[in-house]
């Protein structure tokens, strides 16, 4: 018979009231861990940006829109830029790599990105590893072939050898089907980046999709089957750029953004995403405040429950005192009781955290392709449970003091 087992018996005697308190503590602990964990991991995930590239060049407009469109394959394209800009970058000695993107079509909601084969050697996974294929290999630039990202392949059922018709626009609409047929020649292994949600096709193939009109040189140009497309008519949605040095980024930023009027350079990609996330930091604050308030409400509930039970337990305390328990021991017993309730709450809170995190991560993965894992360590996973147990212990202090002051003589009096 230990003091802990006595405490445990008491808790079991009031299982419903304590269960409700454990639930409230679990919700607040789980919510806090989820909010902070998701915030931290999403910052890390979005800070990665587009591994392998430093900047995006696109039409004059919002840098954020450029990044969202070209890197995260969200939002609409701010417009197109002439092919000449791409070729100029490609030949610039300060540029290590320049890869063109042309967008505007989808297959069952998954974006088609027209590009060059270089993308497969430039894109890397979230952990920095090179791209690899689970099936097949890269497309040929002059063929109507496609490479599916892992998520796009899984959710559309596209496998190597499958043939599909693209749909016009970035939102899936069955009436917008192109007659052109593309054959899947490769499926990429998961990268845990937005690239998983993309179907890659040769940029030339995208130019030639039926109904596409090119305006790269200002005048309209409709490609014909087998006919050459002059460079002056070509246009791209964005160019993904890898600089040879950070100084080159500064230089291009000056010439394109501050002095130029034709295009916008989104550089550095991670910095722009961080600025974007910073705009939503208030959401994190609101959620954190909600969770903290819930924790305080749970603590107050715990204190009230303990306090309410004191009246009925004074006799028990008096008996314990008469048997030799010191006032300090009774004090410790009540604090232990409130600590155990909050500790149980944090244990259940880990379950709440896993559920909330997994659900949020799944939605994020589907929406952006960014992958997050609940197993990823974050200091909140230690700090929050410790804080909640401490709060629970503090909630027990006032009831514990009342127990401390219990008079044996007054409370041991005969009751029938």
């Amino acid at each position: 018979m230990t003091l802990f087992s006595l405490v445990w018996r008491n808790l079991r005697q009031h299982v419903v009231a304590n269960g409700v308190t454990v639930g409230a503590v679990a919700l607040s602990a789980g919510l806090l861990m989820s909010v902070w964990g998701l915030e931290s991991q999403s910052r890390k995930a979005f800070a990665v940006g587009s591994p392998g590239f430093d900047a995006v060049l696109g039409a004059r407009g919002s840098r954020l829109q450029l990044v969202l469109n070209a890197v995260y394959h969200l939002d609409t394209s701010p417009g197109n830029i002439p092919w000449a800009l791409y070729t100029a970058l490609k030949s610039d000695p300060r540029v290590e790599a320049a890869v063109p993107y042309a967008v505007g079509d989808n297959y069952r909601g998954f974006r088609l990105v027209g590009t060059t084969g270089e993308i497969f050697s430039r894109l890397v996974g979230a952990q920095g590893g090179p791209l690899s294929f689970t099936e097949g290999g890269p497309f040929r630039p002059d063929q109507k072939e496609a490479v599916a990202g892992s998520q796009a392949a899984r959710r559309t059922g596209l496998r190597k050898g499958a043939v599909f018709n693209p749909y016009h626009g970035i939102v899936f609409d069955e009436s917008m089907r192109h007659n052109d047929l593309f054959r899947v020649v490769g499926v990429l292994a998961p990268t845990n980046t937005p690239a998983d949600r993309v179907i890659w096709i040769p940029i030339d193939g995208l130019f030639r999709l039926g109904g596409h009109v090119l305006r790269g040189g200002g005048a309209e140009f409709t490609p014909t089957d087998g006919g050459e497309i002059p460079d002056e008519h070509k246009e791209v949605s964005a160019v993904m750029i890898k600089f040879r040095s950070p100084q080159a980024g500064f230089g291009f930023d000056q010439t394109i953004n501050k002095q130029g009027r034709v295009a916008t350079l989104a550089w550095p990609i991670a910095g722009i995403m961080m600025d974007f996330l910073e705009r939503f930091s208030w959401v994190t604050m609101v959620l954190t405040l909600t969770a903290v308030l819930t924790a305080f409400v749970a603590g107050a509930g715990l204190m009230a429950a303990l306090f309410n039970s004191l009246g009925a337990r004074r006799r028990e305390f008096a008996i314990l005192r008469a048997l030799g328990a010191s006032r300090r021991r009774l004090f410790g017993m009540i604090v232990l009781e409130s600590s155990v309730v909050s500790a149980l709450g944090t244990v259940v809170g880990y379950g709440v955290y896993v559920l909330l995190f997994t659900a949020a991560a799944k939605v994020l993965k589907i929406q952006t392709g960014v992958s997050m894992e609940w197993t990823f360590f974050h200091p909140a996973l230690v700090v929050v449970p410790l804080g909640v147990v401490l709060l629970g212990a503090l909630s027990g202090l006032i009831p514990a003091f009342a127990a401390y002051r219990t008079s044996i003589a007054k409370n041991i009096v005969p009751l029938v």
């Binding site: 018996r9 079991r12 005192r321 048997l323 030799g324 003589a409 005969p414 029938v416």
Partner: protein
């Protein structure tokens, strides 16, 4: 040798007419192993007398000596510790913890006293005829059985002194008599002194020695 000595012990409580003196004992002595019944009418201060001896209350004046030391002068935590280890207490209403089984109630007293000795706890419950009820909670036991658990608990730490406060008040006469004889026997077997207060002379007559609380007082208790 005296196990317990009260010297000029006075205790009063505030009342509407000022401080009401409840206990005023110039001298009282109890030797080790002696079993004494203390009688007195209701309100005569019997419970206060036991509380002073147990260190639950501190005297306003005077000293309670127990086991060779000025027990009433010790700090409260020390009195608690010594009470747990060296004294057993039997209450009028048994005062068992309802959430614990019979055995656990006895083990708890040991835990708060000299330390858990499960074989001895079981032997005591066997001695009081409850070996088949070790896992029963107080609510599952009759009044007589509950009182016997309380007796076993009082002896759980092999105390030098057992204090019993009207231990038969809630038992029928035959059960009260049986319970008192059992307590007397347990104290004898375990070498414990017994101080049993009761207003019932038939109960007190079962013990070897008897005193009237009023006879200890310097002044008649009002």
């Amino acid at each position: 040798m005296s196990l317990l000595v009260l010297e000029d012990v006075v205790k009063g409580f505030p009342s509407s007419g000022g401080l009401r003196e409840v206990v005023n004992i110039p001298r009282f002595r109890l030797n080790a192993g002696h079993r004494v019944g203390v009688s007195g009418p209701s309100g005569s201060g019997k419970t206060t007398f036991l509380h002073l001896i147990a260190g639950i209350l501190s005297p306003d004046r005077g000293t309670v000596w127990f086991d060779g030391e000025a027990f009433s002068n010790l700090p409260e935590p020390e009195r608690d510790r010594r009470r747990g280890k060296k004294m057993g207490y039997v209450f009028q209403t048994f005062n068992l913890l309802q959430g614990l089984t019979a055995l656990e109630n006895v083990l708890l007293a040991q835990r708060l006293g000299k330390g858990v000795d499960a074989p001895f706890a079981k032997a005591l419950l066997d001695e009081v005829g409850l070996s088949d009820h070790l896992r029963h909670r107080p609510g599952q036991l009759s009044s007589g059985q509950q009182q016997r658990v309380a007796l076993a608990r009082a002896l759980a730490n092999r105390p030098a002194l057992v204090l019993a406060d009207e231990p038969t008040a809630h038992l029928d006469p035959s059960l009260g008599k049986e319970s008192t004889l059992l307590l007397d026997r347990l104290c004898t077997e375990n070498g414990a002194a017994l101080l049993l207060v009761s207003h019932d002379s038939t109960i007190l007559n079962l013990l070897p020695e008897r005193i009237l609380l009023a006879s200890l007082s310097a002044e008649p208790v009002r």
